[in-house]
Amino acid sequence: MTTPSRPEEADAELPEGTWELRLYVAGRTPKSLAAFANLKRLCEEHLAGRYMIEVVDLLEQPQLAEGDEILAVPTLVRKLPHPVRKIVGDLSNTERTLVGLQLRPRAGGPS
């Protein structure tokens, strides 16, 4: 699956403060499609104009799985801003996705 989600202008120079997100999937499965749709929606709601999503299909590029320590798919990796964060699943749980991306403080104190 190759989704041209990268805005044309982002290829040149990313503006300061741009979020770099990488979504690892394995083939065009219901889970991977759901994950991408959920991610796109959340980004538009919370990071409009300052995000970039790269989708890596491990069936096409299996060698990329080792670098980001991918076990489960889909896995969303927040490459920037630091620190690197990982969220596993189809991102259907919006609350946990936002917590994982640190766009919302974790409810109920530290876990």
């Binding site: 076990l71 596993v88 699943g89 259907s92």
Partner: protein
């Protein structure tokens, strides 16, 4: 013939592990193209079994391998096994091995919705395909349970993983931690139905023993005992000792006792491959008889292994030199090897394993075990006796002529309570005699199977030319001239 026997004969394909002794226990190796579960508590040697399986596969069987390490990093693993002579980096450079560390850290992973473990499958598949790997080790897969919280997904995916491994046709080892009352903490044995091996590391009274047991091996005959194993500088050695059958050839060839007069009493010496027991009190001359036996072996150009449990090689050499037995030159020529072992140093199984290994490497024609009683310090008397029986079996199976000494003041049970007299072929007795302020040593052949022998009690003298037998002693204790066990 059982069903298992029939299938084994039909030839269930096996992948030799290359681990010393393990393939004998497994009837040839692990089930080829199938997963095997190795479980045991922390520190029992699971990882090492896995790594040696891969290293031997790569170096001896031309089968490249993949190791997925869930707990240790690639660097840590490499360092841990370097002392065993395994150079993982060199094998990786030759494309015979791929070690991949799989980091599973719950604190770094947020779970938000449905997922599967296809990422793991992709990585594993990529590694296998890149190398053309035939062997896979997953160490320790269960770590996933601490990294991911959705147990339902995990279990479904593990079931799929084992099926996938079979479809890939790789011979796999999956290691797992022993659970409380179960083979593995997370019940992995439910998914691996072909072969399950349990490792155990016990420490009793500060004596450590490692054991292995094949819990199940579908479609194959396998050894069912607990086998001791050893981890040393050459890797893992498993000892299928108890599988020895009573099929020793009874040799008619004689080997000299090293003392001409004793040879005469036995009609020519010990039988080759026989087990000889020398019983006597402290200072009665047991080690001297052993030294004569050893020297005679070396004089024939045979190798002799001297297992010394109480004295150091230096002490023995000095003591024997004092009665005119100069053994040092034979040590120098490699025909005599001493192995000083403190019996307390480790457990009985480990003694057995290390002796077995030494015998296999050095291939002695003759062995001295002096004194056998010391084994009882490494375990209980019944355990020590059982160990000794296995050793005697092993020597006999290998045609090794063995001389054991034990401390005993009388012909009956030894002071230590260990009694293997029924297993020995020739039993010699040395006794100290006090008489009128004087002191003499008496020697007699208590029994010697399969040969005519003298029943006379002779004076046993330690001279500066070694052991000599004097005139027949007339008994003052009445029973000395009875025959015991004569010609069997």
């Amino acid at each position: 013939m059982s069903e298992a026997d029939i299938t084994a004969r039909a030839g269930l394909p096996k992948a030799p592990t290359g681990i010393d002794g393990l393939d004998d226990v497994l009837g040839g190796g692990l089930p080829a193209g199938r997963p095997t579960l190795i479980c045991g508590s922390a520190g029992c040697g699971k990882t090492l079994f896995g790594i040696e399986f891969l290293v031997r596969g790569a170096t001896r069987h031309g089968e490249p391998g993949v190791l997925f390490a869930f707990e240790e990093t690639t660097r840590e693993l490499g360092e841990n096994v370097r002392s065993l002579g395994f150079d993982l980096d060199a094998l990786a450079a030759k494309k015979l091995l791929k070690v991949e560390h799989v980091r599973v850290e719950r604190s770094e992973i947020e779970e938000a919705g449905e997922y599967d473990l296809e990422g793991l499958f992709v990585r594993l598949g990529h590694a296998i395909d890149t190398l053309g790997a035939k062997r896979v080790v997953l160490d320790t897969l269960e770590t996933l349970f601490s990294g991911l919280s959705n147990e339902g997904i995990l279990r479904a995916e593990l079931r799929r993983l084992f099926r996938w491994l079979k479809d890939k046709g790789v011979t796999a080892i999956i290691t797992a931690e022993r659970g409380a009352g179960t083979l593995t903490r997370h019940g992995l044995e439910e998914y691996v139905s072909d072969c399950v091996i349990l490792l155990d590391h016990r420490v009793d009274e500060q004596v450590s023993t490692r054991r292995l047991r094949v819990v199940k091996y579908r479609g194959s005959a396998h050894g069912t005992n607990e086998y001791p194993f050893l981890i040393d500088e050459a890797g893992v050695t498993v000892l299928p000792i108890t599988s020895l059958a009573l099929a020793h050839d009874a040799s008619r060839e004689r080997v000299s006792t090293g003392v001409p007069a004793v040879d005469d009493m036995l009609g020519g010496g010990y039988f080759r491959g026989a087990t000889v027991l020398v019983t006597g009190g402290a200072g009665a001359g047991k080690s001297s008889l052993a030294a004569h036996f050893a020297r005679a072996a070396c004089g024939r150009g045979e190798r002799c292994l001297y297992l010394a449990f109480e004295e150091s090689p230096g002490q023995i050499l000095r003591n024997m030199a004092s009665i005119g037995l100069d053994l040092a030159p034979w040590v120098g020529r490699g025909l005599l090897r001493f192995r000083a072992i403190r019996s307390m140093h480790y457990g009985l199984e480990m003694h057995l394993t290390s002796i077995y290994k030494l015998v296999r490497e050095y291939r002695p024609a003759c062995v001295v075990l002096d004194p056998m009683d010391s084994l009882a310090q490494a375990g209980s008397v019944p355990d020590a006796t059982r160990t000794l029986i296995r050793l005697i079996d092993y020597f006999k199976a290998g045609g090794v002529t063995a001389l054991l000494t034990n401390l005993g003041s009388d012909a009956g049970v030894a002071d230590s309570g260990m009694n293997v007299s029924s297993l020995v072929d020739t039993w010699l007795l040395l006794r100290n005699r006090e008489h009128g302020g004087g002191h003499t040593r008496a020697f007699r052949v208590l029994k010697s199977r399969g040969m005519a022998h003298s029943n006379r009690v002779r004076e046993f003298r330690l001279t500066d030319r070694g052991v000599e037998l004097g005139a027949a002693l007339t008994g003052t204790e009445g029973d000395d001239t009875t025959t015991d066990g004569g010609n069997e």
